[in-house]
């Protein structure tokens, strides 16, 4: 059961929000982030750094994340990433029980 893929999603595509999809899988080595944002040119690096900070705080080193940003504030992006990761972890916990 431990080899299963676990996914989580949070947020929306509404203005000022962000839709975050995360996937834990045995094949995933390291952190891979796909970012799509209207402000990617200006803030892309900052957004990636924020996502990595959240993952670091949660102790996550192997994960795939897809982020559709709709002009969200940094604190919103951080909240949505944390929620998506925790939902995936919860799914994982439920499957292992």
């Amino acid at each position: 059961m431990k080899d299963q893929v676990n996914i989580g999603q949070a947020g929306t595509l509404e203005s000022s929000d962000v839709l975050v999809f995360v996937r834990f899988s045995p094949q995933q080595k390291g952190i891979k982030i796909d970012l799509e944002s209207p402000s990617e040119k200006c803030f892309g690096k900052m957004i990636l750094k924020s996502i990595e900070d959240v993952l670091n705080d949660l102790g996550i080193w192997n994960i795939y994340i897809k982020v559709h940003d709709r002009g969200a504030l940094d604190c919103t992006i951080r909240a949505r990433v944390e929620t998506a990761v925790k939902r995936a972890q919860k799914n994982k916990g439920e499957q292992e029980e």
Partner: protein, 292 residues
């Protein structure tokens, strides 16, 4: 410290980033970031983290920032308080309070969080919401249940459903709860806010209801749309005549104090402590409206 006015408390859905980030710009005296009725059951976890991050990062200026958590009788209430408490909102609005025990449960939680986070003791306020017959029955005890309580309010929809009343725009069915809430608040020495006026497009109805609750003695009202803020503030804004008289009363009492005289008369009427208190209140509202 300057006394906080509580004319309006604007409800903001706790899972809507756009509304959360703009909540402070409409000029309400308080905002209530709502984790309860405005958030669906499967988004409670997301809203909790969104509101926590907003509290830590968004500058709402002088606006009082309140979070309405879910009741401790739901699976969400304790997690809400554990996470939101650590982001130090100005207050926690607690829905469906029915007994002193409900307040004590919240208080214990906040005592622990404040100690662990090294926050000032009692710096997070508790704002109980009365929404049932039992809650109203116990409201005198609830209002006095904690030093953290500075204001109480009630939820008209849940309350009328609980007592079996018909909910009307006119609101006669709320007369009893309004007067009891008011009396309980004044006995406890705290403030009291009215429930929401749900008909967003009926500004005249809102003004009528606000005039009525002001006449009863309420300090303010919860609102559900930014367009309701200004009409409520206007009702609570004193007239030029009221302001002028209040100023004269304060001036007269200061002069009397200089002469060490307790009671004075102004325009042939006695001016004593309650008159002075009312005058101060008028000037507080005038100042908040930018008239001083």
């Amino acid at each position: 410290m300057k006394k906080r006015l509580r004319r309006t408390a604007l409800y903001v859905p706790g899972n809507d980033p756009s509304m959360i980030q703009n909540a402070g710009i409409f000029g309400s005296d308080a905002i209530v970031l709502d984790l309860e009725d405005a958030v669906s059951v499967n988004e409670k976890d997301a809203a909790r983290l969104l509101v926590r991050n907003a509290l830590k990062n968004i500058n709402y200026g002088n606006t009082e920032v309140i979070v309405r958590i879910n009741s401790f009788f739901t699976p969400f209430g304790k997690d809400d308080l554990e996470i939101i408490g650590r982001a130090h909102p100005d207050g926690i609005r607690v829905p469906k309070v029915e007994t002193i025990q409900d307040i004590q449960n919240i208080e214990k939680f906040l005592d622990r969080i404040e100690a662990e986070e090294k926050f000032e003791k009692n710096s997070i306020k508790i704002l109980p919401s009365i929404e049932s017959a039992l809650g109203l029955f116990n409201v005198f005890e609830i209002a006095k249940a904690s030093q953290r309580i500075e204001v109480i309010n009630f939820g008209a929809e849940d309350y009328t459903a609980d007592i079996g009343a018909e909910r009307t725009k006119e609101g006669k069915e709320l007369f009893d709860i309004r007067t009891r809430m008011l009396l309980a608040a004044r006995v406890a020495g705290i403030e009291v806010q009215d429930s929401v006026f749900a008909h967003v497009r009926d500004t005249e109805g809102l003004i009528r209801e606000t005039q009525f609750i002001k006449q009863l003695g309420f300090d303010g009202k919860s609102v559900i749309h930014p367009s309701q803020i200004l009409p409520v503030h206007q009702v609570f804004t004193p007239s030029q005549e009221e302001i002028a008289r209040a100023k004269r009363i304060i001036f007269a009492i200061k002069e009397a104090e200089k002469k060490k005289s307790g009671v004075i008369s102004l325009d042939g009427r006695m001016v004593d402590a309650p008159v002075v208190a009312k005058a101060r209140r008028v000037l507080d509202y005038a100042q908040a409206a930018g008239l001083l």
